[in-house]
C-alpha cells in the first residue's frame, strides 16, 4: 500500500500507454529474477485464507479452492455473498472490520478499493508484473491504475458479441452478419418484414445500459474517453449517429417494447425459440441459448457486433487482495490469487480451464486461447478463434470504467439513455447529458 502512494507521484506525468507497454516488457524480462529472489509459496504453507466470492457456480469455486488447498497445505474459508447485494455486503464487512483476504470484486470498484486501502497494490509480488505482461495489451489497464499500481487479477473476461440466427439472416438475403450499426438496422428491418416482429434483443435495462453505450460507441468508431479518463465522446460527430441509430432501433420496433425491462433469460428464450434474430450480449450467452434447447437453438451462431467494422467492449470482473494482508499470509494469498486469476504453480491456466468448461468464460491472456486443455474444454459450438480475435484485435476495455468516480456516471447512464430511447430526448441532448453526468461524477468521486 505504501508503494502505491510513492508511485503515484513518480508516474503521474507518464503516458498511460507507454507505462503499460514498459511494464509489459519489464515484467517479461525481470519476472524470473524477482520471483526466484522473493518469497515463494512454500514459505506460506499452513495459512488460512478468508476468501469471499459471489455465488456463481459455487461448486466449481469450492473444487478450485479444494484443489489449491490440497496442493499448498493452506486452508481457505469461503464466504459466499449473492451477486445481488455483493457490493453492499463486501463494503459492510470492510467497514465493520472483518475484511476478506482475497475477494471477488466488480472491476469498477477495484481502483476505489485500493485507494481506500481496502485492497492491496500487487506491485512487487512475485510474478505480478509477468501476469500483467502476458495479458492482451487491450486488457492491461483494467488491472493497472494510472499510477502503475496493480490493483487486481482477472476473475474472468468476456467480449460483447452478436448471437444471431443463421437461417433468418440468410432468408433475408444477407450473406453475412452486419458490418456496421446501419447494416444492423437494415438487416433487422428486412427480417422484420419477413415476419419476425422484434428481430433484435439486448439487455437494455437501466442498470446495464451503460455497457451498451460503450458497445455501440466502439462499434461506431467512437473513442469514449481520453487517456486521462475525460469524456470525449460528446465532441465526436459519430456519437450522434450512434445515438440516432440506437433511438431508431427502439422507436422503429426492431426490439420489443419491453426490451427496457426484459432480463437476459427472456432474451435467451426469445432467440432460442426463433422470436428474435439478433441478441447482443457477452459471448458466453451463446451457451445459455444452445443449452436452453429451444426450437431455433441449433441455428444460432456468434459474430462480432459489427463484423469487420468497429470494435466492441471487453468486460470482466476481478479478484483483489485485502489491504491488511501481510507476512506469510500475503504470500499464501498471492499464490492463491495467481492460481485463480493467472496460472498455477505448474504454469497452467488450471482455473480458467475449469471456467471455460463450466461457463465458457475467458481469460485476458493470449496463452489461454492456445492452451490445448482450454480448447478441449470450451463448448464446441463456440468459435474460440473468433472470440480470441475479438479480444486481440477488435475490443477495448474503456479504461475509464475502472476509475473511482465511474460508478457515479454508471448510475446516471440508465435514465439518460432510456430518455433517448423513449423519445423524451434527442441525440444531441443525450450526448450532452451523458457528458455532464461524467463531469458530475468525476467532481464528486469517493466512497
Amino acid at each position: 500500500m505504501e508503494s502505491s502512494e510513492t508511485g503515484s507521484g513518480l508516474n503521474s506525468n507518464l503516458d498511460r500507454r507507454s507505462l503499460l507497454t514498459a511494464m509489459g516488457v519489464a515484467g517479461l524480462t525481470t519476472a524470473p529474477l524477482i520471483s526466484s529472489s522473493m518469497m515463494s509459496s512454500a514459505d506460506a504453507a499452513g495459512q488460512t485464507i478468508n476468501f469471499t466470492a459471489w455465488e456463481y457456480q459455487p461448486d466449481t469455486i469450492k473444487s478450485l479452492v479444494k484443489s489449491w488447498s490440497g496442493k499448498t497445505g493452506n486452508k481457505v474459508n469461503i464466504s459466499f455473498i449473492p451477486n445481488v447485494g455483493y457490493t453492499a455486503g463486501i463494503q459492510a464487512r470492510q467497514r465493520g472490520g472483518k475484511p476478506a483476504d482475497v475477494f471477488y470484486n466488480f472491476a469498477y470498484n477495484s481502483q476505489k478499493f485500493v485507494n481506500q486501502k481496502w485492497a492491496a497494490d500487487l506491485r512487487g509480488l512475485p510474478g505480478a508484473d509477468k501476469m500483467v505482461a502476458e495479458m492482451f495489451p487491450s486488457a492491461r489497464s483494467r488491472f493497472v491504475a494510472e499510477n502503475g499500481a496493480i490493483v487486481s487479477a482477472p476473475y474472468f473476461s468476456a467480449v460483447h458479441m452478436l448471437q444471431y440466427n443463421k437461417k433468418m439472416v440468410a432468408a433475408a438475403g444477407f450473406s453475412s452478419t452486419p458490418n456496421s450499426l446501419q447494416e444492423t438496422y437494415d438487416q433487422c428491418k428486412k427480417i422484420k418484414a419477413n415476419g419476425v416482429a422484434s428481430p433484435y434483443v439486448a439487455y437494455w435495462v437501466k442498470d446495464f445500459v451503460e455497457e451498451y453505450l460503450h458497445v455501440y460507441l466502439l462499434a461506431g468508431g467512437v473513442k469514449p474517453f481520453d487517456n486521462k479518463g475525460d469524456p470525449i465522446f460528446m465532441d465526436d460527430p459519430k456519437t450522434l449517429e450512434v445515438l440516432e441509430w440506437w433511438q431508431a432501433m427502439y422507436k422503429d420496433g426492431m426490439t420489443p417494447k419491453s426490451v427496457l425491462t426484459d432480463d437476459p433469460g427472456k432474451h435467451t428464450t426469445s432467440i432460442a425459440n426463433g422470436d428474435a434474430a439478433f441478441y447482443a450480449l457477452h459471448h458466453y450467452f451463446l451457451r445459455d441459448i444452445v443449452e436452453s434447447k429451444g426450437s431455433a437453438s441449433a441455428d444460432i451462431a456468434q459474430a462480432k457486433i459489427v463484423g469487420t467494422g468497429g470494435k466492441t467492449l471487453q468486460m470482466g470482473e476481478v479478484i483483489q487482495m485485502g489491504g491488511k494482508v501481510s507476512g506469510k499470509k500475503k504470500a499464501a494469498a498471492w499464490d492463491f490469487m495467481k492460481t485463480y486469476g493467472y496460472k498455477d504453480s505448474k504454469g497452467e491456466f488450471s482455473t480458467f480451464q475449469k471456467w471455460a468448461a463450466s461457463g465458457a468464460l475467458c481469460a485476458p491472456y493470449p496463452g489461454f486461447f492456445k492452451d490445448p486443455k482450454v480448447i478441449a474444454a470450451f463448448p464446441k459450438y463456440m468459435d474460440l478463434s473468433l472470440i480470441q480475435d475479438t479480444f486481440q484485435n477488435s475490443s477495448d476495455i474503456v479504461p475509464a470504467r475502472t476509475l473511482p468516480w465511474y460508478q457515479g456516471f454508471q448510475a446516471q447512464c440508465g435514465t439518460v439513455i432510456h430518455d433517448l430511447l423513449l423519445g423524451n430526448s434527442n441525440p444531441r441532448a443525450t450526448a450532452n447529458a451523458l457528458a455532464i453526468a461524467c463531469k458530475t461524477a468525476k467532481s464528486g468521486s469517493g466512497l
Binding site: D59, S79, G85, G89, Y203, S270, D288, G359, K380
Partner: protein
C-alpha cells in the same frame, strides 16, 4: 306462526354499487395473486419456455425438474450428448447453490422461532407495563418505540456488525436472532400494547381482590385472554424474520432463505425457473402459518379500531 321474510328488491343503485365493490375486489385479488400464480407456473416450466409469448396460463409440458434440481435430486436429460452440446450434461456445474434450500429453511425456521419466543417474552412485559402503568417517560418510550421502526436497517447494519464482530457472533444464528429481535420488538410491543388496552381492568382488579400479584395476574388472567394478540404478534414477527434479506446478507454467509434465493440471480444469468421452484418451497411454511392463524391475526390487528 311461521313468518315468511320477503327479500327486499334490489334497487338499481344498489346493484351498481355492489357490482363496483366486487369488481374492485376482484381486481385487487388478481393483482395480489398474479405474481404468485406466475411464480408457481414458472416453477413447472422448462427454462426454454419461460417468457414465451403468448404467456400460457399453465405450461404445456409441466416439469418437476426445477424442483428436483433445487432439492439436489439428479435429473435425467435424455437430449443431452455429453461433451458436445451442453458440456457435461447432468454433471455440469450448476450456476447456483442447489441442495441447500432445505438446510436454509431449517436455519430460517430456527432463527425465526427463536426470535418469536424472545420477542414475545420481552414485548409482553413491556406492552403490559405501557398499557397499565403511567410512569415518567412512558409516553416518550412508546413514541420512541414507534419511531425506531422508521430508522432504515441500512443505517443500523454497520454498528450491529461491529458489535457482533466483537462478540464473535458473525455468521452464526445468534447474529440474526439478536439483530432481528432489535427491530421486531417495537412491532410486537405496539401490537400487544394495543391489545392489552382492550382487556378490561376489572379482571385484574378481581384477581387482585383474590390476592394475586401483578405477575400472577399477568400469567393466569391476562395472558390467556391475550392469546389472539400474542399469536398475531408472533406470526408477524415470524414472517418478518423469515423474509429479512439485508442483515442476513451482511451478517452471515447466506444462512437463511432470502440470500439463498437472491443467489439465483447471478452474473446476468437469471435462473427464473429454479428461483421460482425454490421460492414456492420457501413460502410453504409462512403460508401455512398465516392460514392456520389467520383469524387471530385479523382479530388482533383490528383490535382498537372500534374505540
Amino acid at each position: 306462526m311461521k313468518t315468511v321474510r320477503r327479500r327486499r328488491p334490489l334497487s338499481r343503485a344498489r346493484i351498481v354499487r355492489t357490482s363496483m365493490i366486487y369488481s374492485v375486489a376482484a381486481c385487487f385479488v388478481l393483482w395480489i395473486l398474479f405474481p404468485i400464480w406466475y411464480t408457481i407456473s414458472s416453477s413447472f416450466t422448462e427454462p426454454s419456455k419461460i417468457g414465451v409469448r403468448p404467456t400460457p396460463f399453465w405450461p404445456a409440458n409441466p416439469t418437476l425438474d426445477n424442483y428436483k434440481i433445487v432439492l439436489g435430486i439428479p435429473i435425467r436429460d435424455k437430449d443431452c450428448t455429453p461433451g458436445v452440446d451442453i458440456g457435461n450434461c447432468q454433471t455440469a456445474a450448476s450456476n447456483v447453490s442447489v441442495n441447500k434450500i432445505v438446510d436454509t429453511m431449517l436455519n430460517s425456521f430456527y432463527v425465526a422461532s427463536t426470535v418469536v419466543v424472545i420477542t414475545l417474552i420481552i414485548s409482553t412485559i413491556a406492552a403490559y407495563s405501557l398499557s397499565r402503568y403511567r410512569f415518567v417517560g412512558s409516553n416518550f418510550f412508546l413514541n420512541f418505540t414507534i419511531l425506531s421502526r422508521i430508522v432504515p436497517g441500512l443505517v443500523l447494519v454497520a454498528p450491529i456488525f461491529i458489535f457482533l464482530r466483537v462478540l464473535d457472533l458473525l455468521n452464526t444464528p445468534w447474529a440474526l436472532i439478536i439483530s432481528y429481535t432489535s427491530f421486531t420488538l417495537p412491532l410486537a410491543i405496539i401490537i400487544l400494547k394495543n391489545y392489552f388496552d382492550q382487556i378490561s381492568v376489572d379482571l385484574e382488579e378481581a384477581a387482585a381482590l383474590d390476592g394475586a400479584g401483578r405477575i400472577l395476574t399477568l400469567r393466569l388472567i391476562i395472558l390467556p385472554v391475550a392469546v389472539p394478540g400474542l399469536i398475531a404478534a408472533g406470526v408477524l414477527v415470524f414472517l418478518e424474520s423469515w423474509s429479512e434479506f439485508f442483515f442476513a446478507l451482511v451478517l452471515t454467509d447466506s444462512y437463511t432463505v432470502p440470500p439463498l434465493l437472491a443467489g439465483f440471480l447471478s452474473m446476468q444469468t437469471f435462473n427464473w425457473t429454479l428461483l421460482s421452484a425454490a421460492t414456492v418451497i420457501a413460502i410453504i411454511p409462512p403460508v401455512l402459518l398465516t392460514m392456520i392463524f389467520q383469524k387471530y391475526i385479523v382479530t388482533a390487528l383490528a383490535s382498537g379500531t372500534g374505540k
